[in-house]
């Protein structure tokens, strides 16, 4: 699989480490009253779709950026990639 890195162009998927569903960007608020249940869902439950899946890949053997890659889990076709930094900013999350 070749991942279209937004900065570096097409890169071999072997340069990346995989984390999973891109919803992991949205960490629950630890001070919310339902934080315990929200964190349990966040850590353990997944949609696990058959088809388009937005997921986090880390460019470990590259520029150490996190990408949000959209990939079809039935065909392994890669439908797009964005910097996770941009995705988080677009959701008005603070970025460290």
């Amino acid at each position: 699989m070749l991942i279209p890195h937004p900065v570096l162009g097409l890169r071999d998927a072997r340069e990346f480490a995989y984390l999973g569903d891109a919803r992991l960007i949205d960490r629950p608020d630890p001070s919310a009253p339902d934080a315990e249940a929200a964190f349990c869902d966040y850590v353990y439950l997944r949609d696990n779709p058959a088809g388009a899946h937005r997921e986090l890949w880390f460019h470990e053997h590259g520029d150490h950026s996190w990408l949000v890659v959209t990939r079809n889990t039935i065909t392994h076709e890669i439908l797009g990639a964005e910097l996770a930094h941009d995705v988080a900013l677009a959701r008005k999350r603070s970025v460290k």
């Binding site: 699989m1 999973g20 439950l45 997944r46 949609d47 696990n48 990939r71 392994h76």
Partner: protein, 416 residues
């Protein structure tokens, strides 16, 4: 129709004209007491034990494709019970005991071969870890022994003992472990269930659940609505897709695992060998082909086929531990879809919906569990209480913090 040596001989004299299909091919009835979704090893075993051991009646197994068309026909056929943790050990030992009597039980040759499974160790800490695991197995009633380098050299002279990075210091063996003929396991359970009157309904895809006030009423299928008092789902690989139809999100990701078979060779590998420094294991089928496998590819997939980097990785493992097979030609390679759970251990439990039961999350080790999984799931369906060996496989163990994290990888399904 019972199978026996005499029967085979008499059929040979009659031109094999007397063999009949192993099971009926019935149309679905409008209502069953129990509907099992999934006609793979676990679903068929569940139906068999439900009918035979727990004396329940009006049972159907619904299968989207043909019986045994999923992972029970796509695995590397290893059976073993060498688990470390208390939640796992007794369950897999129960399974191995069922394997030992399976052919007599089913009157079907599933070619169970207790040829032994050996894990190689390459360092002092690895030896200590295996010693601990052997002690834990003894507590679960399983058999285990440690082999010295000299013992191993006598048994497996062809290994690369002096690899500069991964020298082999010894091995950890379960002599009662081994292999079985995967397809015949599905066929044997299917035939056994059919003989007890279970309706095995193929080409019947479940498209939804009918749930009224939190109670299951039946399943919508490609062949119409089928009513049921209780529905058990055993569709590992597709668990998330099927349970989503009941509104559930599961602690599971689907990943692809590849396996490989080489051309047929004379007998060279007498047991199952696990490389302790990389993830590679190998055995030899009765047809002579070397059967081997490595890790999952590492990203979510429903593709039933993997990619080349893992092929290379597995073959590197093979060459590191067993250079003699370097010139053997690969015949076939395939992938299966694994229910990778968040702690690497399975789930056999009720759900929040009355009458709906779930069996899944088998990760890369579902085949060896087939008999015990079927038995425990049938026990749960029939009695509404977990089987004594499967009490730890609860769906709510993640929320309660009672994970069974055999490999210590945490909530990272691609590392389990």
């Amino acid at each position: 129709m019972r199978f026996s040596g005499f029967r085979v001989l008499s059929e040979a004299l009659k031109g094999h004209s007397g063999w009949k299909p192993l099971w009926r091919n019935p149309d679905p009835q409008p209502f069953y007491d129990y509907v099992i979704v999934g006609g793979g090893g676990h679903g068929l075993a569940t139906a068999y034990y439900l009918a035979k051991t727990f004396r329940q009646s009006r049972i159907a197994v619904l299968e989207k494709g043909w019986l045994g068309s999923g992972n029970v026909g796509r695995n590397t056929t290893v059976i073993r019970s060498n688990y470390l943790l208390p939640g796992n050990g007794p369950f897999y030992e129960f399974s191995l005991k069922l394997w030992e009597g399976l052919e007599q039980e089913l009157n079907f040759n599933s070619m169970v071969s207790q040829r032994g499974v050996i894990y190689l160790f390459h360092s002092d800490w690895q030896r200590d870890a295996y010693r601990r695991r052997a002690n834990s197995m003894a507590l679960a009633g399983a058999d285990a022994r440690l082999l010295s380098r000299e013992d191993l050299k006598a048994m497996l002279p062809f290994l690369n003992y002096d690899n500069a990075r991964f020298p082999i210091h010894g091995g950890f063996m379960q002599p009662r472990a081994g292999t079985a003929r995967h397809d015949a396991v599905a066929w044997g359970y299917a035939r056994g269930a059919d003989l007890y009157g279970v309706d095995l309904i193929q080409n019947c895809e479940v498209t939804g659940f009918r749930i009224v006030d939190g109670n299951i009423r039946g399943v919508e299928t490609s062949r119409g609505f089928i009513g049921a008092n209780k529905v058990g789902v055993a569709v590992a690989g597709s668990s998330s897709r099927v349970m989503a139809m009941a509104g559930m999100r599961l602690p599971i990701e689907s990943h692809v695992l590849q396996a490989f078979v080489t051309e047929g060779l004379k007998p060279i590998i007498p047991c199952v060998i696990m490389f302790g420094a990389g993830h590679f294991y190998i055995s030899q089928s009765d047809k002579g082909g070397l059967v081997f496998c490595g890790e999952i590819d590492g990203y979510n997939s429903y593709a039933q086929r993997g990619n080349l980097p893992m092929v290379e990785d597995v073959c590197e493992g093979a060459m590191a531990v067993m250079p003699m097979i370097g010139r053997v030609r690969l015949l076939r390679q395939w992938g299966g879809v694994m229910d990778m759970s968040m702690d690497g251990s399975p789930i056999i439990d009720r759900t929040g919906i009355e009458g709906l039961y779930f069996n899944g999350g088998w990760c890369v080790g579902g085949f060896k569990a087939t008999p015990a999984s079927g038995h425990a799931f049938a026990h749960l369906l029939a009695t509404d209480t977990p089987h004594e060996t499967a009490r730890a496989y609860r769906l709510d163990r993640f929320a309660r913090g009672y994970l069974i994290d055999e490999s210590g990888a945490g909530a990272q399904p691609n590392l389990q």
